[in-house]
């Protein structure tokens, strides 16, 4: 459990690590930590994180509110239906080894089950085997047959515009037209959102949105969910518009599952976005049906 290295971090590193696990680091502090011995830092960071977590476990807990529990169950259903394939693809070859380690712990049954699910999905996505590159946990590869036909040229992945067009063609997708506000930055902007509630995927589409300097500000998408308090829209992520872009299509990555898409808005925020928008610069707005 203890760091394997005999090297001990110096005071400066310990101060940064303690701050990281208690309140997080500023960008300047993060840069200062990055230039130190990264292996030693990550070794000790995990130890401090574990100590901080253990301390929080020694404090009393309060019951989960029933309404939140219901939302979590809804979220679990959506996640199980649409998002686990992403995990499976990310799991790559290390999933097998990790899942085997998981199975050692009888006290962590849920994690074992989840890891098995990852493995099962991973296996499913790898079929047919001949079309997928071997991953780290595959140690035996059959030699190719002597008369193997030439492989077709790999297809280019679809562009965001093509994916949006495909989504738009699906009967279950929903489209919301966006209207420009009176904000000066909104002049001449038109756009829409295409959203698939089943897969929780969607795209923003704009014409005329001004390019931004990501060091100065970024655009941020907000999604209003009919099942949630409208004062707290879901963060749809930040995005940039490059110079001379003309028409832009941006994939949507909602931080939380959207039960019922009610409205969307785009604001201008500081780089990296905000948790709660002041709504000083709302650029476009659109409501469902």
């Amino acid at each position: 459990m203890s760091p394997g290295s005999q090297d001990q971090p110096d005071d400066a590193m310990v101060d940064l690590l303690v701050k990281q696990v208690t309140e997080g680091l500023s960008p300047a502090e993060q840069r200062a930590l990055d230039v130190l011995d990264s292996a030693l830092a990550s070794e000790h960071l995990r130890e401090f994180e574990r100590a901080a977590a253990a301390i929080t476990l020694a404090a009393p807990v309060q019951a989960l509110p029933p309404s939140l529990r219901a939302r979590l169950e809804e979220q679990a259903q959506i996640h199980a239906a649409s998002a686990t394939h992403v995990q499976a693809l990310r799991a790559t070859g290390t999933a097998a080894a990790e899942a085997r380690r998981v199975s050692r712990s009888a006290s962590a049954g849920w994690f074992a089950a989840a890891a098995c699910l990852l493995l099962a999905l991973f296996g499913w996505f790898r079929s047919p085997p001949s079309s997928v590159a071997p991953t780290a946990d595959v140690h035996v590869t059959a030699p190719p047959p002597a008369t193997m036909p030439p492989l077709p040229a790999p297809k280019e992945p679809p562009t965001a515009a093509e994916e949006r067009a495909a989504l738009l063609a699906k009967a279950e997708s929903r489209k919301i037209t966006l209207g420009a506000t009176k904000d000066p930055a909104a002049a001449g902007v038109t756009g829409d959102v295409v959203w698939d509630p089943a897969t929780q995927t969607g795209f923003l589409h704009f014409v005329g949105l001004a390019p931004n300097d990501p060091q100065v500000h970024q655009y941020q998408l907000w999604i209003f969910d009919g099942g949630r308090d409208k004062r707290y829209p879901v963060d749809g992520g930040v995005f940039n518009v490059p110079a001379n872009a003309g028409e832009v299509v941006i994939p949507i990555h909602a931080e939380l599952p959207i039960v019922k898409l009610a409205a969307v808005a785009v604001t201008i925020e500081k780089p990296g976005g905000v948790v709660v928008s002041s709504r000083d610069h709302v650029i476009v707005l659109g409501t469902a049906g």
Binding site: A51, A53, A114
Partner: protein, 168 residues
């Protein structure tokens, strides 16, 4: 996944409630944390600690990220309303996880003001500067208390881990 909510819902919610500015913020944070847990389940390694520590680590990372995004906003709660935490005794904490019991033992060996610094920082989400202002303590002392407290708990955890590995 329901079983996961049963097992860790109260833990995640309690952490989120303490380290979020509003109840609504805590609810959003709880949802984000459960997504993180589901996505990270494959990385759980029982040889590195209990499932509850794994979940608490994921939760704390997410909550600290969220807090840092809102550092320009007013403090999450007036300091007067922060209630002192009744730490579990080691026997009770052992029902939660072995690490909780070891942390409870380590906390007992700390001076009250050291425990208070850990409590304000780890359970109430105050920054070191905020703790210094609240307790009227030099910032260097707060840093030192925080550091020594975490190192003390870390030592207890490592001793426990060593004794476990020796038994195996």
């Amino acid at each position: 996944m329901r079983e996961c909510i049963d097992q860790y819902g109260a833990l995640v919610w309690s952490l989120a409630r303490r380290l979020s500015r509003t109840p609504s913020d805590a609810e959003d944070a709880t949802q984000e944390i459960f997504l993180d847990i589901w996505r990270s389940a494959g990385r759980f390694d029982a040889t590195q600690g209990s499932d509850k520590v794994f979940v608490a680590m994921i939760a704390r990372r997410r909550l600290i990220d969220r807090l840092r995004k809102t550092t320009s906003e007013p403090a999450m709660a007036p300091v007067e309303v922060l209630e002192s935490v009744a730490w579990s005794d080691p026997g009770t904490a052992s029902e939660t996880s072995p690490e909780a019991a070891q942390a409870a033992r380590a906390l007992r060996e700390l001076r009250p003001e050291q425990r208070q610094v850990l409590e304000l920082g780890l359970l109430h989400g105050l920054s070191q500067s905020e703790i210094a202002a609240r307790l009227g303590m030099p910032l260097g002392t707060v840093k030192s208390f925080m550091r020594r407290g975490l190192i003390k708990v870390r030592e207890f955890l490592n001793v426990d881990a060593k004794s476990v590995s020796e038994r195996v």
